[in-house]
């Protein structure tokens, strides 16, 4: 379906498309706007006045820093786990043929297709059953289940393009398994791993559902925000934090998008 460049879309369609985009993005702009309001108890429109004081207030709130720190650590460690496991799994599935290969591929992808609430309940009951106390590490385990999928999906697509004969050529020229990975496989899948890792980080950073089921007393940033919304004090602090979350998750996703796009061009250039 390609629209001809010379024929303009009808006016009605243009308006409808504009309204759709506004509906998606206006609320986000409102979040940004209320980070600067002088009114702290309700979201009154238009804001009675604009101020920067909430940035200072947010900076001085230790609970914000605790939640942010936890979220960053959880996202970072989950991403590292996902990178290792996702790459190994992708290498196994794309590099060899064995009984149950398709099943394993499906089972790896399943956690992201399942509703988060199912993953959350399942993990919670599993942790209780095994009498594992809820902690920092149970959150990470929960996040790693879906982070692995993102890395795996990115890596497996790229592994398929690194044809088996490249690996054989490398071995033939005297490189052992480690050298082949270092000099042939990694340069060819590197951008895919970076993209997968960034997406995994962003996914973990704003995850709420699985976290609610697997966290103990700790609050990750999204959960802190949820709690904060019911309290009428210093509401704009939440908006300031929301802005930070948008920036922290948006930039990696944008980066991942450009990296995989460039990767395709490089691979296409080799043909």
């Amino acid at each position: 379906m390609r629209s001809d460049r010379n024929t303009a879309a009808p006016l009605g369609l243009k308006i409808a498309a504009g309204c759709g985009l506004l509906f998606m993005h206006l609320p986000i702009l409102l979040i940004f706007l209320y980070a600067f309001t002088t009114e702290e108890k309700s979201y009154q429109f238009p804001p009675p006045g604009l101020t920067l004081k909430w940035f200072a207030v947010t900076w001085d709130r230790p609970d914000v820093w605790a939640a942010l720190g936890l979220s960053v650590r959880v996202a970072a460690i989950s991403t590292v786990i996902a990178l290792v496991l996702g790459t190994l799994c992708a290498a196994a599935v794309s590099g060899s043929r064995f009984f149950g290969r398709e099943t394993i591929s499906l089972l790896v992808i399943l956690p992201i297709a399942l509703p988060g609430i199912i993953t959350g309940i399942a993990l919670r009951s599993a942790f209780s059953f095994a009498e594992i106390p809820f902690s920092f590490w149970t959150i990470i385990l929960g996040h790693a289940t879906f982070c692995v999928v993102v890395v795996y999906n990115n890596a497996v697509a790229r592994f398929r393009r690194v044809s088996g004969s490249l690996v054989e050529a490398s071995m033939d020229l005297g490189a052992d398994g480690f050298q082949t990975f270092r000099y042939v496989i990694l340069p060819n899948i590197g951008t895919a791993l970076l993209a997968g890792g960034m997406l995994a980080f962003a996914l973990s950073f704003d995850e709420v559902i699985v976290t609610t089921f697997t966290a103990g007393q700790q609050q990750t940033l999204p959960i802190w925000m949820l709690e904060e919304l019911v309290r009428p004090r210093q509401r704009p602090v939440t908006n300031v934090v929301a802005m930070v979350v948008v920036l922290v998750t948006f930039l990696p996703i944008l980066g991942a998008y450009y990296l995989t796009r460039d990767g395709d061009q490089v691979a296409g250039g080799g043909k």
């Binding site: 020229l173 042939v184 043909k271």
Partner: protein, 331 residues
Amino acid sequence: MTAVLFQQVSRHFGAVRAVDDVDLAIAEGEFFAMLGPSGSGKTTCLRLMAGFEQPTAGHIEIFGETAEGVPPYRRNVNTVFQDYALFPHLSILENVAYGLMVKGVARAERLKAAEEALAMVKLPGYGARRPGQLSGGQRQRVALARALVNRPRVLLLDEPLGALDLKLREQMQEELKSLQKSLGITFVFVTHDQGEALSMADRIAVFNDGKIQQLGTPEEVYKRPKTRFVADFVGSSNVLTPDFAASLGFPRTYASLRPEAIALGDGPGRKRFTGTVAAASFLGAATRVTVEAAGNRIAAMLPAAAGVPAPGEAVTLSFLPEDLHPMDGEQ
């Protein structure tokens, strides 16, 4: 000295006998071709030499050393792959220098060696380009340089000319042959093109169904095919039925007879037979005539000067007895 030795080597994939009880000995400095249709086991034999496959049974030696269990990166053998398998993320020079790089040769030294290898395959100055910027023929030369820069004792070539057009292929055939002579390296060459094998190789192994049908010089394989398969696959010899051979006074076995050994008319000391011309086609220097004789369809290449018999005409044809070869490999 024997470069590559196979003793009763088999490689089975499940129920498929890709290589079935193969014996062969390739001499040092030899240009050895493995010829056969796809699925005949010739490429699997090459992969067994390279170390990408391990034999199900049998014994392999490379320059007197046992090869089973030795990984590809510890064999002094290099391969030119059918799809060239150049590394897309490296420049041409880095591709050629790769083998030296993983062996730990210093940067300046390995780049110099790579430049020399590129010059040897007539691609000097192409080092800075990427594989994607080269044509098929150029990539083929890079793959050759990348293998030769490691000074292998055996060079394995897997249908290296398959993807090239005819003119380029003929040119590369000559270059490969002269390169092999000047370097003195053992070349093992896999191909399904009998013309290529006949013109380049010192010896040919003809493969079918995982077995070697015949192993010999191009002349032997061409003139005296041992089996019906070889007669048919290498240069379309006539295959005479046992009854027909017996009627001419030969042993009752299948026998091969080259079309160019047959002449029109009779002469002293010649074996003769009669038949009906089924088809005749004028080829310039010669006329190819197909004759029906006692249930055999026999092709004869007649010199143009002999005159062209018309289809339906009864003709007498003859050949020298030594040109007919009973095929020991067939019963």
